[in-house]
Amino acid sequence: MRELLGRISALDPEAGAAVKVIAYFDELAGTGLEPVVRGAAVLTGVPAGFVGPGRDPALRVAPDGSVERGAHGPDPSWCSVRAGGGVLWLELAEEPGPVEAMVLERAAAAVRARMERTAPMAGGRAALAEALVDPGLPEEQRARAARRFGIVPGSPTRAVALHGGGIRVVAAAEDPGGERAGVGPAVEALGLPSSWEDARRALRFTARGTGTDPGPRVVFAEDLGGLLLLADTVRPGDPPVPDVAALERVARDAAPLLAALEAVASSPSLRAAAARAGVHHSTLQESVGRAERLLGWPVREVTGRLRLQVALVLRRLHHHP
């Protein structure tokens, strides 16, 4: 049989060949990069190649269909076109003829279609998680990422924003781990972009959990209730309200008192707060008394305790972008 694909290049580009080139690359758009690059090489009779945007080695295919991976990128003198964040080339130094130009154009379109469909899938689970929380991606693409990620349709998941910038996606019932993180509400896979938004808000309510930055290392958005709204009103550069300025003074002049205040704010009783802070309750009582004098309001009464809780939260929001 010599109705070989390679024969197409010998045909009149104005007539049947054009239609066939278009049909061929349209069909290939759903397959993979290698068949597209091979198609370009076979149809033009010169080697073709593609180097992607990532660190993947370049792919080069000879007109006989043989594949070389890890090839060098294109020589500047060759015909090339940008496609899918990478470069597609024909090893052709002269001006491309009508068939070559059309092949390059259609192959580039097929590469773009391919990269759009698979780009978020390329880099493993981290990249998949990134795709899952990206509200800019079409639903179909996120659904695909969810399947690839292994999310059972209908089962609730959470987006987790890690301190330092990482993204995780976990099952609703899964322990998000001890890393400092904001945890979004449980949603179905396609709701992950909104879970991610809240996870990032929740992250701003976390603390290092140390003496100078006391507070929870993991915060669930659901547990914040209406406090979550504060995340949108307080930005790091904003001037602090007087109560936060007062806390900053405590942090500067009497840092150990911060941990005592955090313990009081987050414990049901002074005795429980002492246990939490790891000190004797009379020691804690003494520390809190000193702190109250520095702050200027009583923190052991109901209203004063709420005022302390809000001030501590606002301080974290001021600190965390």
Binding site: L4, L5, G6, Y24, G32, P35, A41, P63, G65
Partner: protein, 322 residues
């Protein structure tokens, strides 16, 4: 109708482009046009087929069983005067078309060159003008003649492999049956590339692929009908016409068989290999997922085609290599 297996995606794209040129359904009224197209693809007398001087090409004639001349082409390596092994090739074309100087010759010469073999290609008579047994008897007559004149031709008569693709694969299998039953020539192997073996044309794969792919049930009925007329599919078809009809597959030379999962011939090829094993014989079988009939000759550059083609040389090397 059972759902057919999916085509390999790269091959599906090739099929989409070639759809107009190669309809799945081929009916007897299309034979003249099919032959014209096939002839246009074959090499002309001016085309050089010497692999840049690595081979010499000579024409010969063998006497046919009924007195007719059987044309043969011989390509012999120029690099040696010692007797060389021979791949005796039978072209395809559904029993109704094709020539012995077809488009596959350069690739066959490449393979022969790798192993230092000669290549012989036979121009058997075609159906329906020449029904069974003319095609297979011509193939056998050519093989017998080549073995008998091996000394004159510079061939080693003990190192013969018969091979063919599609209808040629079926004829190669039938020629191997004849060689077994008539006491020679002795063959080292039979290379059966997507062979056409069974005139009954009613396997699951034949039914699955009806109206799709390449060489569907209707096309297959056209080919077998041309070869056998009314007898096709009936009770009295001899094994030398349709090797799947052979009761006894013992005592055959080692076989290489390959076929696509998405083609009419899939089941008959798998069954033939299986029956060779059951009869105590040697067979290597490859079933290529999503391959249509003749995929590796129509789209030799595709990934699956390259894999399929790459299996034949190592087998030949084991069977006939030095």
């Amino acid at each position: 109708m059972p759902t057919p297996p999916p085509f390999d995606p790269e091959l599906a794209a090739v099929l989409a482009v070639l759809r107009d040129e190669i309809p799945s359904r081929l009916t007897p009224d299309m034979i003249p046009d099919l032959r014209r197209r096939r002839a246009a693809q074959a090499f002309g007398p001016d085309d050089d087929l010497t692999l840049d001087g690595a081979y010499t090409e000579t024409g010969h004639h063998a006497p046919g069983h009924d007195g007719a001349d059987v044309p043969l082409l011989l390509w012999r390596p120029t690099g040696t005067t010692a007797p060389v092994g021979t791949l005796y090739w039978i072209h395809g074309g559904g029993m109704i078309m094709g020539t012995h100087r077809g488009a596959e010759i350069p690739a066959l010469l490449q393979t022969a060159h790798e192993l230092g073999l000669a290549l012989v290609s036979v121009d058997y008579r075609l159906a329906p003008e020449h029904p069974h047994p003319a095609p297979v008897e011509d193939c056998y007559a050519g093989l017998t003649w080549a073995a008998k004149h091996a000394d004159d031709l510079g061939l080693d008569p003990r190192r013969l492999v018969v091979g063919g693709a599609s209808a040629g694969g079926g004829l190669a299998a039938a020629t191997a049956l004849l060689a077994r039953d008539r006491g020679g020539p002795d063959l080292l192997g039979q290379l059966l590339v997507c062979p056409m073996l069974d005139d009954r044309n009613d396997s699951v794969s034949a039914r699955q692929m009806a109206g799709t792919g390449v060489w569907d049930k209707v096309a297959n009925a056209t080919g077998w009908g041309a070869l056998l007329g009314e007898a096709a599919g009936g009770p009295d078809v001899p094994p030398y016409a349709a090797p799947a009809r052979a009761q006894d597959l013992s005592g055959l030379p080692p076989a290489f068989l390959d076929v696509g999962s998405a083609e009419t011939f899939r089941d008959e090829v798998v069954d033939y290999a299986s029956r060779i094993w059951k009869a105590g014989g040697s067979a290597e079988l490859h079933v290529w997922p999503g391959g249509f009939h003749g995929f590796d000759s129509m789209a030799p550059q595709a990934a699956l085609s390259r894999s399929a083609a790459a299996q034949r040389l190592p087998w030949l090397r084991r069977i006939i290599g030095v």
